[in-house]
């Protein structure tokens, strides 16, 4: 036999670069399918960066090192470095060389991602953790695709990691599968398979395609969709809704069983409105939170100064210790205006402008913290004297507002002169008895929500819940030139215990979810109002020194709800159960996947399991064919592959058969389908001749690996054609040679 120098080095072909580009394209398209479950698209660029670096590193390494497998090693290293650079640069040497701390940080990020996924509703906000998870997964998938397609030369198998990416959304919700992305991915995959030209194995392509279709169509179909939360159907709860917490507030309020959200101990004499965030801008016809970009410097150790608050206003200090129970969400419930927060475990930052405290990585659930806040006590005179801020963008009346709203506002305020008087007049009007509190009416009458279009129906029906009161009062205030915004948070809750040291313990439940308007007064800042009848209490402003009385700017049959810090804590009325909706609160422990999804995961796992032997067999065959082409013991591998394929197909091909004997056996097998195997019979004779010359011939004979591989391919195809369907299925699903190998039986069957 000829001595063959193993040609393991691989010249960098344009084909490898083209393949890498196609892999990049396919993965980039596949990953974009996640847009159905994630807000925004910034995460995509990070993921693309990672995959780009991975594929490029593999190409470069193969070019310089001339070893396919080294390219895969380089890909792994590159993935690690780029992840470090993107997510843990502080912990790394030179910003990208990972240290032990880096991996700890990665672990934390993954845990944070897990938390975020668990606590968020769809579409989820891509927190740093989630972004890391995506980049991490994309890095891993890119490495696998590169290795499979370029190192193992089985590009068709690259479809499996792609499939995993494509089906992720369908695990969450069947309807989230984006058919367009799926089609684009499928096209990219076909390009990958076709780019191999003559190397395509139709069986591989077809089986990969079948698996892909099964995964994308069947699996989502057998998945029961996730129960949609709330009446709006898109979210699962106000607190979990990071984008706009007001959307599902109604649904949360209507839920029949209130759960314990949090409890707090405060030195305040009245209990605290705990604010999550404010909604101050209109996005179309919808109130939206500002969610300014979090600045790393905005540590909760010292929050910013309350906007607009000037030195002349009397302030008191309030200490509150809060323990969050079941509530989840990425905004922290705190009194306004808070000055400092201590004891938090997660990473929280305050937002410029509204002093809300938010985290992109963790949820409030389980947090236990102490807040120092101000009790701003402007006098009525100070408020009345506050100038107008009509030019503020927060006083801008949303376009398209029905003029009747402004007209009503004007009518309500009547002769009130100052902004403060006007505001009080509005509040009094709402709380005065004409309006009733109901969570049912808006849902029944079709104006359940917080958009502009609910204002007029609400004003006509005069029935609604906090969202309607807050929205309408805020909008009306703007029509009067008073800057306004809506706060979302919790009512003070139920007083459960009063300590000796003037502290009180309150318990807040999900039914205390609330929203209220905040109005801006120059030199005082944002002032809370309470237009919702029977809810909470109105702000209490002392008269200026010397006047001697406390003016409660309210009137009406329900009476002024003076602060009642003792015996009668403010609680929500018992809400009727909404039979037609399925309220589901974020306050309940939320789960990411319904149990049935695990069943679907199981189905996919079984499919993958079934496909595994075939995939392994294909990889083995592919590697052998590569060796044949490269001239590494070509005859030995060709004959072994021929023999094992024959055995898989049910031919009693023994290792003790000489090439001539096996050829006769296989020729007899091919003769079973004489019409379709003529080429294979010829190729078999040719292959036998090449193998015999190579193995037994006088050393002067030269092998021809390419010829051998081509002949082998034709013979294998012919053998399959001449085999019954049953045997072919066995050969694919449980290849006997693979079973022997797994069971440790010698492939040398006598």
């Amino acid at each position: 036999m000829t001595t063959v120098t193993a040609r393991r080095t691989v010249p960098l072909g344009g084909s490898d670069i083209r393949m890498s580009a196609l892999l990049l394209l396919a993965l980039a398209v596949a990953i974009s399918g996640l847009h159905t479950v994630l807000e925004d698209i910034t995460w995509w660029f990070g993921a693309f960066g990672v995959m780009f670096v991975v594929f490029t590193a593999a190409i470069v390494a193969r070019y310089f090192l001339r070893r396919r497998w080294l390219g895969s090693i380089a890909a792994v290293l590159a993935a690690l470095l780029v992840l470090t650079l993107f997510f843990a640069t502080n912990t790394a040497i030179l910003g990208f060389i990972p240290t032990g701390t880096t991996f700890v940080h990665f672990g934390n990020l993954l845990a944070a991602a897990n938390d975020s996924i668990e606590r968020q509703s769809l579409p989820a906000f891509a927190t740093t953790g989630i972004q890391f998870l995506i980049c991490f997964a994309v890095g891993g998938i890119a490495v696998v695709m590169d290795a499979v397609a370029i190192w193992l030369r089985a590009p068709a198998l690259a479809g499996i990691p792609l499939l995993v990416v494509v089906v992720v959304p369908s695990f969450v919700l069947a309807s989230l599968t984006d058919g367009f992305t799926f089609e684009l991915t499928a096209i990219a995959y076909l390009l990958i398979v076709l780019s191999r030209g003559r190397r395509i194995q139709p069986a591989v392509a077809i089986s990969a395609g079948v698996i892909a279709v099964l995964g994308a169509l069947v699996v989502p179909a057998v998945l029961p969709p996730v129960a949609a939360g709330g009446s709006t159907g898109s979210g699962v709860g106000v607190l979990a809704e990071t984008i706009n917490p007001i959307i599902d507030l109604g649904a949360d309020l209507r839920q029949s069983d209130a759960t314990a959200a949090l409890s707090y101990t405060t030195s305040s004499s009245t209990g605290e409105y705990l604010r999550l965030t404010t909604l101050d801008t209109f996005q179309g016809k919808q109130w939206e939170p500002a969610t300014p970009k979090l600045k790393p410097g905005n540590s909760v150790k010292a929050l910013g100064d309350p906007p607009g608050l000037t030195a002349g206003i009397k302030v008191g200090n309030v200490s509150t210790s809060i323990q969050v129970a079941e509530a989840t969400g990425s905004w922290l419930p705190i009194p306004y205006p808070s000055q400092s927060i201590s004891g938090l475990t997660g990473k929280w930052f305050w937002e410029d402008g509204n002093l809300s405290v938010r985290s992109t990585t963790t949820s409030m659930q389980g947090e236990r913290y102490s807040v120092k806040s101000l009790d701003v006590q402007p006098t009525i005179q100070q408020l009345e004297a506050a100038g107008s801020s009509a030019s503020s963008p927060l006083a801008k009346v949303p376009a398209g507002l029905d003029p009747i709203v402004a007209a009503t506002a004007k009518q309500v305020v009547g002769s009130a002169k100052t902004n403060f008087d006007k505001a009080v007049a509005l509040q009094t009007w709402f709380r005065g008895g004409t309006f009733t509190y109901s969570t049912r009416t808006p849902a029944r009458a079709g104006y359940d929500g917080s958009g502009l279009d609910v204002i007029v129906p609400f004003l006509q029906a005069k029935s609604g819940y906090c969202v309607h009161f807050a929205t309408t009062m805020a909008v009306m205030a703007r029509t009067l030139g008073i800057p306004s915004r809506i706060a979302v948070g919790f009512l003070p809750g139920k007083l459960t215990h009063q300590g000796n040291d003037n502290t009180a313990v309150y318990e807040v439940s999900s039914s205390n979810l609330h929203s209220w308007p905040e109005l801006y007064f120059k030199s005082v800042g944002w002032v809370r109002f309470e237009p919702t009848p029977s809810k909470g209490f109105e702000p209490n402003f002392p008269s200026a020194p010397g006047q001697g009385t406390t003016i409660l700017p309210t009137a009406g049959s329900t009476g002024a709800a003076t602060p009642v810090p003792t015996a009668t804590p403010v609680t929500a009325p018992k809400l009727p159960n909404q039979g037609d909706t399925k309220p589901r609160s974020a306050l309940q422990t939320s789960t990411t996947l319904p149990a049935s999804s695990y069943g679907a995961l199981g189905v996919l796992a079984v499919l993958l399991l079934i496909a595994t032997p075939a995939v392994i067999r294909i990889v083995i065959r592919r590697r052998r064919v590569d060796r044949i082409r490269e001239g590494i013991d070509p005859a030995g591998w060709a004959w072994q592959e021929l023999r094992e394929t024959a055995r898989d197909l049910g031919v009693d091909a023994r290792e003790s058969s000489t090439p001539a004997e096996l050829s006769r056996q296989l020729a007899a097998h091919l003769a079973l389908a004489p019409g379709r195997t003529a080429k294979a019979t010829e190729a078999l004779a040719r292959l036998q001749e090449l193998v015999v010359d190579e193995v037994y011939g006088v050393p002067a004979y030269r092998y021809n690996g390419e010829d051998m591989a081509d002949a082998l391919r034709i013979v294998l195809t012919g053998l399959r054609r001449a085999t019954s369907l049953g045997n072919r299925i066995v050969a694919t699903v449980v290849p006997p040679t693979l079973v022997d190998r797994v069971l440790g039986r010698a492939t040398a069957r006598a």
Binding site: M1, D633, G636, Q640, T658, Y696, P699, A748
Partner: protein, 324 residues
């Protein structure tokens, strides 16, 4: 010698011998293989099936020196190797070569001679030389012994010990002819002995040239591995008490080369090894107690089965093997 000429001549030899022995082409081919591989042939069968005829026909087809020894119980070693006799005229001892000094030596009924005489022949077979009175005489080249023996129990026979059977490259048995061949034989023998009209096809020089051609056939490492693997398997087989010797492996490959040449190939295939394994190996093996042994000392059929099984179980090497 070019392979074409080799094929031509060998075909002619086979067809010439076939005029004498009807329907025994396989036996003839093996006999020729052994001749070309410079081995010795043991033909074993019941009386009257043409053992001697085959040996003589083979000898006649080559125009070279042929001698025939009829082994009898009283045959002495000197009757084979030759003796030194005192030459009265020269007044010195003169060596009179025995029948072993021929290119082809036919030993008839070799198991009738005493062990002492048998060993005289067998030693000369291996060493290709004879030592008489301290002087060494080289035997002819080529030198091939074609011995026949009768397996049936007979008075005064001495079965060849295994050490001596090992000297024969191959053992064949003729077997009875099929009815058609037997009728054909009756017809041809009616007039005259066909052996008398048999003309030699080649001379000693051409035979040497053909042997050289067969020797030059290439045996790849894979084939060598295969032969060794089979030999090794016989040594570890539970059915066998004595396996094949290294000499057996050597002769197996040598015979395979001759067979390859007769097939017109310049290299040996595992199929050559397979085809010759029973013929070359089985007479050297000793079965363990479990196998029935015939009284004559052989249990050929059973041994052939064992060899056949071993061949069927031994993987055929195909180049260097890697794990994958």
């Amino acid at each position: 010698m070019p392979i074409e000429q080799f094929l031509e001549l060998s075909a002619e030899i086979v067809s010439t011998i076939e005029t004498v022995i009807d329907g025994k082409r396989e036996a003839i081919e093996i006999a020729l293989t052994v001749l070309l591989a410079e081995g010795h042939l043991l033909i074993e069968d019941v009386p009257g099936v043409g053992k001697t005829m085959l040996a003589r026909a083979l000898a006649r087809s080559v125009d070279c020196s042929v001698s025939r020894i009829q082994f009898t119980p009283d045959l002495l070693p000197a009757d084979i190797t030759g003796v030194s006799v005192f030459n009265q005229s020269d007044r010195e001892f003169e060596f009179k070569p025995g029948p072993v000094f021929a290119n082809i030596v036919i030993g008839d009924e070799i198991n009738r001679a005493s062990p002492k005489t048998q060993s005289a022949l067998l030693e000369s077979m291996e060493e290709r030389q004879v030592t008489v009175d301290g002087k060494t005489y080289i035997l002819a080249n080529p030198f091939t012994v074609v011995a026949t023996q009768n397996p049936i129990e007979m008075e005064g026979t001495y079965a060849l010990p295994e050490a001596q059977r090992d000297r024969f490259m191959a053992r064949i048995s003729m077997g009875y002819p099929d009815p058609a061949s037997e009728i054909e034989m009756l017809r041809t023998r009616a007039i005259s002995s066909p052996l008398d009209v048999l003309k030699p096809v080649i001379g000693a020089t051409e035979l040497r040239s053909m042997i050289a051609t067969a020797r030059a056939v290439y045996a790849s490492p894979a084939v060598e591995q295969y032969a060794v693997a089979i030999a090794q398997a016989t040594r570890s087989d539970s059915e066998l008490r004595l396996g094949a010797s290294p000499r057996a492996t050597l002769q197996l490959v040598r015979a395979a080369k001759a067979r390859a040449a007769l097939d017109g190939r310049e290299f040996v295939l595992p199929d050559d090894i397979n085809a010759l394994a029973i013929t070359v190996l089985s007479h050297r093996l000793i079965p363990s107690g479990r196998v029935g042994v015939t009284v004559g000392g052989y249990s050929g059929e059973t041994l052939a089965e064992i060899v056949s099984r071993i061949v069927a179980e031994t993987p055929v090497p195909l180049g260097a093997r890697h794990g994958d």
